[in-house]
Protein backbone atom coordinates (compact mmCIF):
# COMPACT_ATOMS: atom_id res chain seq x y z
CA UNK A 1 0.00 0.00 0.00
CA UNK A 2 1.38 3.41 -0.90
CA UNK A 3 1.45 6.31 1.55
CA UNK A 4 -0.29 8.78 -0.69
CA UNK A 5 -3.73 8.57 -2.23
CA UNK A 6 -3.93 7.76 -5.92
CA UNK A 7 -6.83 8.58 -8.20
CA UNK A 8 -8.29 5.13 -7.55
CA UNK A 9 -7.18 4.26 -4.01
CA UNK A 10 -6.69 5.65 -0.57
CA UNK A 11 -3.13 5.56 0.75
CA UNK A 12 -2.01 4.48 4.20
CA UNK A 13 -1.96 7.98 5.73
CA UNK A 14 -5.57 8.82 4.85
CA UNK A 15 -6.78 5.39 5.93
CA UNK A 16 -4.94 5.55 9.24
CA UNK A 17 -6.23 9.08 9.92
CA UNK A 18 -9.80 8.06 9.07
CA UNK A 19 -9.91 5.11 11.47
CA UNK A 20 -8.01 6.95 14.17
CA UNK A 21 -10.56 9.79 14.08
CA UNK A 22 -13.46 7.30 14.00
CA UNK A 23 -12.09 5.56 17.09
CA UNK A 24 -11.50 8.87 18.88
CA UNK A 25 -14.95 10.27 18.04
CA UNK A 26 -16.88 7.24 19.31
CA UNK A 27 -14.50 6.83 22.24
CA UNK A 28 -14.85 10.47 23.28
CA UNK A 29 -18.61 10.28 22.95
CA UNK A 30 -18.79 7.24 25.20
CA UNK A 31 -16.35 8.69 27.70
CA UNK A 32 -18.17 12.03 27.74
CA UNK A 33 -21.57 10.38 28.15
CA UNK A 34 -20.29 8.32 31.06
CA UNK A 35 -18.18 10.92 32.85
CA UNK A 36 -20.88 13.57 33.28
CA UNK A 37 -22.92 11.16 35.39
CA UNK A 38 -20.08 10.15 37.70
CA UNK A 39 -20.49 10.51 41.42
CA UNK A 40 -18.35 13.17 43.09
CA UNK A 41 -16.54 10.49 45.07
CA UNK A 42 -15.81 8.31 42.06
CA UNK A 43 -12.10 7.86 41.43
CA UNK A 44 -12.76 8.82 37.81
CA UNK A 45 -14.50 12.11 38.62
CA UNK A 46 -11.35 14.11 37.98
CA UNK A 47 -9.39 11.79 35.70
CA UNK A 48 -12.11 11.00 33.15
CA UNK A 49 -12.66 14.66 32.13
CA UNK A 50 -8.88 15.17 32.04
CA UNK A 51 -8.53 12.25 29.63
CA UNK A 52 -11.54 13.44 27.60
CA UNK A 53 -10.06 16.92 27.21
CA UNK A 54 -6.55 15.67 26.48
CA UNK A 55 -7.74 13.30 23.74
CA UNK A 56 -10.01 16.04 22.39
CA UNK A 57 -7.08 18.45 22.00
CA UNK A 58 -4.94 15.75 20.36
CA UNK A 59 -7.85 14.96 18.02
CA UNK A 60 -7.89 18.61 17.02
CA UNK A 61 -4.25 18.38 15.92
CA UNK A 62 -4.94 15.09 14.13
CA UNK A 63 -7.82 16.77 12.29
CA UNK A 64 -5.55 19.65 11.29
CA UNK A 65 -3.05 17.16 9.89
CA UNK A 66 -5.92 15.39 8.14
CA UNK A 67 -7.06 18.62 6.48
CA UNK A 68 -3.50 19.46 5.41
CA UNK A 69 -3.03 15.95 4.07
CA UNK A 70 -6.22 16.26 2.03
CA UNK A 71 -4.72 19.32 0.38
CA UNK A 72 -1.39 17.61 -0.13
CA UNK A 73 -2.77 14.30 -1.28
CA UNK A 74 -6.33 14.63 -2.64
CA UNK A 75 -8.88 11.88 -2.09
CA UNK A 76 -9.39 9.38 -4.92
CA UNK A 77 -12.08 10.23 -7.45
CA UNK A 78 -15.63 9.04 -6.87
CA UNK A 79 -16.52 5.59 -8.12
CA UNK A 80 -17.81 5.75 -11.72
CA UNK A 81 -21.03 3.91 -10.77
CA UNK A 82 -22.00 6.66 -8.33
CA UNK A 83 -24.58 9.06 -9.70
CA UNK A 84 -24.69 12.81 -9.27
CA UNK A 85 -26.96 12.64 -6.23
CA UNK A 86 -24.73 10.12 -4.47
CA UNK A 87 -21.67 12.30 -5.09
CA UNK A 88 -23.41 15.45 -3.94
CA UNK A 89 -24.81 13.72 -0.88
CA UNK A 90 -21.45 12.34 0.12
CA UNK A 91 -19.80 15.75 -0.36
CA UNK A 92 -22.29 17.45 1.95
CA UNK A 93 -22.22 14.57 4.40
CA UNK A 94 -18.45 14.64 4.69
CA UNK A 95 -18.45 18.44 4.93
CA UNK A 96 -20.86 18.19 7.85
CA UNK A 97 -18.72 15.58 9.58
CA UNK A 98 -15.60 17.74 9.27
CA UNK A 99 -17.29 21.02 10.18
CA UNK A 100 -19.33 19.46 12.97
CA UNK A 101 -16.25 17.87 14.49
CA UNK A 102 -14.34 21.15 14.48
CA UNK A 103 -17.23 23.08 16.06
CA UNK A 104 -17.65 20.26 18.58
CA UNK A 105 -14.01 20.42 19.61
CA UNK A 106 -14.07 24.21 19.73
CA UNK A 107 -17.15 24.23 21.96
CA UNK A 108 -15.51 21.76 24.34
CA UNK A 109 -12.42 23.95 24.51
CA UNK A 110 -14.58 27.00 25.25
CA UNK A 111 -16.25 25.26 28.22
CA UNK A 112 -13.03 24.39 30.00
CA UNK A 113 -11.23 27.63 29.25
CA UNK A 114 -14.14 29.99 29.96
CA UNK A 115 -12.61 31.20 33.20
CA UNK A 116 -9.16 31.70 31.67
CA UNK A 117 -7.66 28.35 32.66
CA UNK A 118 -5.73 26.44 30.03
CA UNK A 119 -6.19 22.76 29.22
CA UNK A 120 -3.40 20.44 30.23
CA UNK A 121 -2.89 17.62 27.73
CA UNK A 122 -1.90 14.55 29.76
CA UNK A 123 0.29 16.87 31.80
CA UNK A 124 2.68 17.20 28.86
CA UNK A 125 1.80 20.67 27.64
CA UNK A 126 -0.92 23.20 28.14
CA UNK A 127 -3.24 24.81 25.61
CA UNK A 128 -3.92 28.34 26.87
CA UNK A 129 -7.34 29.96 27.13
CA UNK A 130 -8.11 32.56 24.49
CA UNK A 131 -11.79 33.50 24.29
CA UNK A 132 -13.10 34.02 27.80
CA UNK A 133 -15.57 36.88 27.59
CA UNK A 134 -18.57 35.45 25.74
CA UNK A 135 -21.56 35.98 28.08
CA UNK A 136 -22.48 32.71 29.82
CA UNK A 137 -19.69 31.13 27.83
CA UNK A 138 -19.40 27.80 29.65
CA UNK A 139 -23.18 27.29 29.62
CA UNK A 140 -23.72 28.10 25.95
CA UNK A 141 -20.63 26.18 24.87
CA UNK A 142 -21.83 23.32 27.06
CA UNK A 143 -25.20 23.13 25.32
CA UNK A 144 -23.59 23.32 21.87
CA UNK A 145 -21.14 20.60 22.89
CA UNK A 146 -23.89 18.31 24.17
CA UNK A 147 -26.32 18.64 21.25
CA UNK A 148 -23.65 18.65 18.59
CA UNK A 149 -22.04 15.55 20.09
CA UNK A 150 -25.33 13.70 19.73
CA UNK A 151 -25.86 15.04 16.21
CA UNK A 152 -22.36 14.10 15.15
CA UNK A 153 -22.39 10.61 16.59
CA UNK A 154 -25.79 9.93 14.99
CA UNK A 155 -24.52 11.32 11.71
CA UNK A 156 -21.34 9.25 11.95
CA UNK A 157 -23.60 6.24 12.49
CA UNK A 158 -25.50 7.11 9.30
CA UNK A 159 -22.14 7.50 7.56
CA UNK A 160 -21.23 3.96 8.67
CA UNK A 161 -24.62 2.58 7.62
CA UNK A 162 -24.22 4.24 4.23
CA UNK A 163 -20.83 2.54 3.83
CA UNK A 164 -22.41 -0.82 4.70
CA UNK A 165 -25.21 -0.16 2.22
CA UNK A 166 -22.63 0.46 -0.52
CA UNK A 167 -20.87 -2.74 0.42
CA UNK A 168 -23.76 -5.14 0.89
CA UNK A 169 -26.55 -3.72 -1.26
CA UNK A 170 -24.85 -1.78 -4.05
CA UNK A 171 -21.87 -4.18 -3.89
CA UNK A 172 -19.39 -1.44 -4.84
CA UNK A 173 -15.89 -0.73 -3.52
CA UNK A 174 -16.73 2.27 -1.29
CA UNK A 175 -16.08 0.53 2.01
CA UNK A 176 -13.22 -1.61 0.73
CA UNK A 177 -11.40 1.53 -0.39
CA UNK A 178 -11.25 2.65 3.23
CA UNK A 179 -9.29 -0.54 3.94
CA UNK A 180 -6.83 0.19 1.14
CA UNK A 181 -8.33 -2.18 -1.41
Amino acid sequence: MQWRNSSARYGAVSILLHWLVALAVFGLFGLGYWMVELDYYSGWYKTAPDIHKSIGILLFFVMLVRMLWRGFSPSPSSLPEHGRLTRLGSKFGHAFLYLGLFVLMLSGYLISTAEGRGISVFGLFEVPATLTSIPDQEDIAGLVHEYLAWALVVFAGIHALAALKHHFIDRDRTLLRMFGR
Binding site: Y40, I111, E115, D139
Partner: protein, 192 residues
Protein backbone atom coordinates in the same frame (compact mmCIF):
# COMPACT_ATOMS: atom_id res chain seq x y z
CA UNK B 1 -55.43 61.29 37.55
CA UNK B 2 -52.10 62.92 38.17
CA UNK B 3 -53.54 64.83 41.10
CA UNK B 4 -54.84 61.66 42.64
CA UNK B 5 -51.51 59.92 42.24
CA UNK B 6 -49.71 62.86 43.73
CA UNK B 7 -52.12 62.98 46.65
CA UNK B 8 -51.60 59.27 47.31
CA UNK B 9 -47.88 59.71 47.10
CA UNK B 10 -47.84 62.63 49.52
CA UNK B 11 -50.16 60.84 51.92
CA UNK B 12 -48.16 57.67 51.66
CA UNK B 13 -44.91 59.47 52.31
CA UNK B 14 -46.44 61.28 55.28
CA UNK B 15 -47.67 58.01 56.79
CA UNK B 16 -44.39 56.27 56.15
CA UNK B 17 -42.52 59.20 57.66
CA UNK B 18 -44.70 59.11 60.75
CA UNK B 19 -44.19 55.37 61.19
CA UNK B 20 -40.40 55.48 61.17
CA UNK B 21 -39.30 58.88 62.28
CA UNK B 22 -35.57 58.48 61.69
CA UNK B 23 -35.18 55.40 59.52
CA UNK B 24 -33.39 56.09 56.30
CA UNK B 25 -33.51 54.02 53.16
CA UNK B 26 -30.32 52.78 51.65
CA UNK B 27 -29.65 51.27 48.24
CA UNK B 28 -26.98 48.58 48.25
CA UNK B 29 -23.97 49.94 46.40
CA UNK B 30 -23.71 47.44 43.58
CA UNK B 31 -22.69 50.14 41.14
CA UNK B 32 -19.46 50.92 42.96
CA UNK B 33 -19.28 47.24 43.96
CA UNK B 34 -19.06 47.67 47.70
CA UNK B 35 -21.29 44.71 48.31
CA UNK B 36 -20.75 40.97 48.28
CA UNK B 37 -22.85 37.87 48.56
CA UNK B 38 -20.36 35.11 49.16
CA UNK B 39 -20.59 31.55 50.28
CA UNK B 40 -18.27 29.04 51.80
CA UNK B 41 -18.52 25.26 51.76
CA UNK B 42 -16.21 22.53 52.88
CA UNK B 43 -14.33 20.60 50.21
CA UNK B 44 -14.16 16.99 51.40
CA UNK B 45 -13.66 18.28 54.94
CA UNK B 46 -10.13 19.38 54.03
CA UNK B 47 -10.49 23.02 53.03
CA UNK B 48 -12.93 25.87 52.42
CA UNK B 49 -14.21 26.67 49.00
CA UNK B 50 -15.40 30.23 48.52
CA UNK B 51 -17.78 31.45 45.87
CA UNK B 52 -19.66 34.58 45.08
CA UNK B 53 -22.81 35.76 43.35
CA UNK B 54 -21.76 38.61 41.12
CA UNK B 55 -25.14 39.99 40.17
CA UNK B 56 -27.56 41.08 42.87
CA UNK B 57 -29.30 44.14 44.13
CA UNK B 58 -31.18 45.24 47.17
CA UNK B 59 -31.98 47.86 49.71
CA UNK B 60 -32.30 48.26 53.44
CA UNK B 61 -33.71 50.76 55.85
CA UNK B 62 -31.80 51.45 59.00
CA UNK B 63 -32.14 53.67 61.99
CA UNK B 64 -29.36 53.52 64.54
CA UNK B 65 -31.76 54.63 67.28
CA UNK B 66 -34.27 51.95 66.47
CA UNK B 67 -32.38 49.08 64.82
CA UNK B 68 -35.27 46.65 65.32
CA UNK B 69 -37.30 48.61 62.78
CA UNK B 70 -34.69 47.89 60.10
CA UNK B 71 -35.60 46.06 56.92
CA UNK B 72 -33.55 44.30 54.26
CA UNK B 73 -34.43 43.04 50.81
CA UNK B 74 -31.96 41.37 48.47
CA UNK B 75 -32.57 39.77 45.07
CA UNK B 76 -29.84 37.91 43.31
CA UNK B 77 -29.32 36.33 39.94
CA UNK B 78 -28.41 32.69 40.62
CA UNK B 79 -26.80 32.41 37.21
CA UNK B 80 -24.09 34.82 38.32
CA UNK B 81 -22.48 32.29 40.66
CA UNK B 82 -18.71 32.38 40.40
CA UNK B 83 -16.17 30.11 42.07
CA UNK B 84 -13.30 30.93 39.73
CA UNK B 85 -13.67 27.63 37.86
CA UNK B 86 -15.84 27.53 34.74
CA UNK B 87 -16.75 23.86 34.86
CA UNK B 88 -17.66 23.99 38.53
CA UNK B 89 -19.78 27.11 37.98
CA UNK B 90 -21.57 25.35 35.14
CA UNK B 91 -22.18 22.39 37.42
CA UNK B 92 -23.50 24.62 40.24
CA UNK B 93 -25.93 26.22 37.78
CA UNK B 94 -27.20 22.80 36.67
CA UNK B 95 -30.02 20.69 38.07
CA UNK B 96 -27.57 19.08 40.52
CA UNK B 97 -27.43 22.31 42.50
CA UNK B 98 -29.16 25.62 41.80
CA UNK B 99 -31.34 24.84 38.77
CA UNK B 100 -30.81 28.35 37.47
CA UNK B 101 -32.90 27.85 34.34
CA UNK B 102 -35.90 27.03 36.48
CA UNK B 103 -35.06 29.32 39.39
CA UNK B 104 -33.12 32.29 38.03
CA UNK B 105 -33.49 34.42 41.15
CA UNK B 106 -32.98 33.99 44.86
CA UNK B 107 -34.40 36.47 47.30
CA UNK B 108 -34.13 37.39 50.91
CA UNK B 109 -36.80 39.52 52.61
CA UNK B 110 -36.47 40.33 56.28
CA UNK B 111 -39.44 39.86 58.56
CA UNK B 112 -38.01 40.89 61.93
CA UNK B 113 -34.82 42.29 63.40
CA UNK B 114 -33.79 41.51 66.94
CA UNK B 115 -30.97 43.38 68.56
CA UNK B 116 -28.46 41.00 70.18
CA UNK B 117 -25.89 43.44 71.50
CA UNK B 118 -23.87 46.51 70.67
CA UNK B 119 -23.98 46.72 66.87
CA UNK B 120 -25.24 43.17 66.38
CA UNK B 121 -28.63 41.82 65.47
CA UNK B 122 -30.40 38.71 64.30
CA UNK B 123 -32.23 39.39 61.07
CA UNK B 124 -35.04 36.91 60.53
CA UNK B 125 -36.46 36.60 57.08
CA UNK B 126 -37.50 34.38 54.24
CA UNK B 127 -34.89 33.07 51.90
CA UNK B 128 -36.03 31.75 48.53
CA UNK B 129 -33.39 29.64 46.85
CA UNK B 130 -33.80 26.95 44.21
CA UNK B 131 -37.56 27.53 44.36
CA UNK B 132 -37.74 26.73 48.09
CA UNK B 133 -38.70 29.41 50.61
CA UNK B 134 -37.52 28.87 54.17
CA UNK B 135 -37.15 31.14 57.18
CA UNK B 136 -33.53 31.84 58.06
CA UNK B 137 -31.78 33.99 60.63
CA UNK B 138 -28.84 36.10 59.56
CA UNK B 139 -26.46 37.05 62.36
CA UNK B 140 -25.60 40.61 61.36
CA UNK B 141 -23.00 43.09 62.49
CA UNK B 142 -23.21 46.83 61.96
CA UNK B 143 -19.80 47.97 60.76
CA UNK B 144 -19.98 51.71 60.36
CA UNK B 145 -21.70 54.69 58.81
CA UNK B 146 -21.02 58.28 57.87
CA UNK B 147 -20.42 60.73 55.08
CA UNK B 148 -18.46 59.50 52.12
CA UNK B 149 -15.95 61.76 50.33
CA UNK B 150 -18.28 62.23 47.35
CA UNK B 151 -21.26 63.91 48.97
CA UNK B 152 -23.22 60.82 49.96
CA UNK B 153 -23.95 59.03 53.19
CA UNK B 154 -23.22 55.37 53.67
CA UNK B 155 -23.79 52.57 56.14
CA UNK B 156 -22.41 49.04 56.05
CA UNK B 157 -23.15 45.64 57.51
CA UNK B 158 -22.00 42.09 57.33
CA UNK B 159 -23.90 38.99 58.19
CA UNK B 160 -23.92 35.26 57.80
CA UNK B 161 -26.19 32.28 58.03
CA UNK B 162 -25.74 28.58 57.55
CA UNK B 163 -27.97 26.61 55.21
CA UNK B 164 -28.43 22.88 54.81
CA UNK B 165 -28.23 22.10 51.10
CA UNK B 166 -30.97 19.48 51.46
CA UNK B 167 -33.34 22.08 52.96
CA UNK B 168 -33.25 23.95 49.69
CA UNK B 169 -33.79 20.85 47.60
CA UNK B 170 -30.21 20.74 46.34
CA UNK B 171 -29.86 17.22 45.01
CA UNK B 172 -26.15 16.62 44.73
CA UNK B 173 -24.59 15.04 47.77
CA UNK B 174 -21.05 16.32 48.24
CA UNK B 175 -20.31 14.05 51.15
CA UNK B 176 -20.68 14.19 54.93
CA UNK B 177 -18.43 17.23 55.43
CA UNK B 178 -20.26 19.31 52.86
CA UNK B 179 -23.91 19.16 53.87
CA UNK B 180 -24.04 22.82 54.81
CA UNK B 181 -23.03 26.05 53.18
CA UNK B 182 -22.36 29.32 54.94
CA UNK B 183 -23.78 32.38 53.24
CA UNK B 184 -21.76 35.51 53.96
CA UNK B 185 -23.16 38.89 53.06
CA UNK B 186 -21.22 42.13 53.24
CA UNK B 187 -22.98 45.23 52.00
CA UNK B 188 -22.60 48.94 51.95
CA UNK B 189 -25.68 51.06 51.34
CA UNK B 190 -25.91 54.57 49.98
CA UNK B 191 -28.60 56.65 51.68
CA UNK B 192 -31.33 57.63 49.24
Amino acid sequence: MLKKTLATLVLGTALLGAGSAMAADYAIDTEGQHAFVNFKISHLGYSWLYGSFKDFDGSFSFDEKNPEASKVNVTLNTKSVDTNHAERDKHIRSGDFLNVDKHPTATFASTAVKSTGEGTADISGNLTLNGVTKPVVIAATFIGQGDDPWGGYRAGFSGSTTLKLKDFDIQKDLGPASQEVELIISVEGVRQ
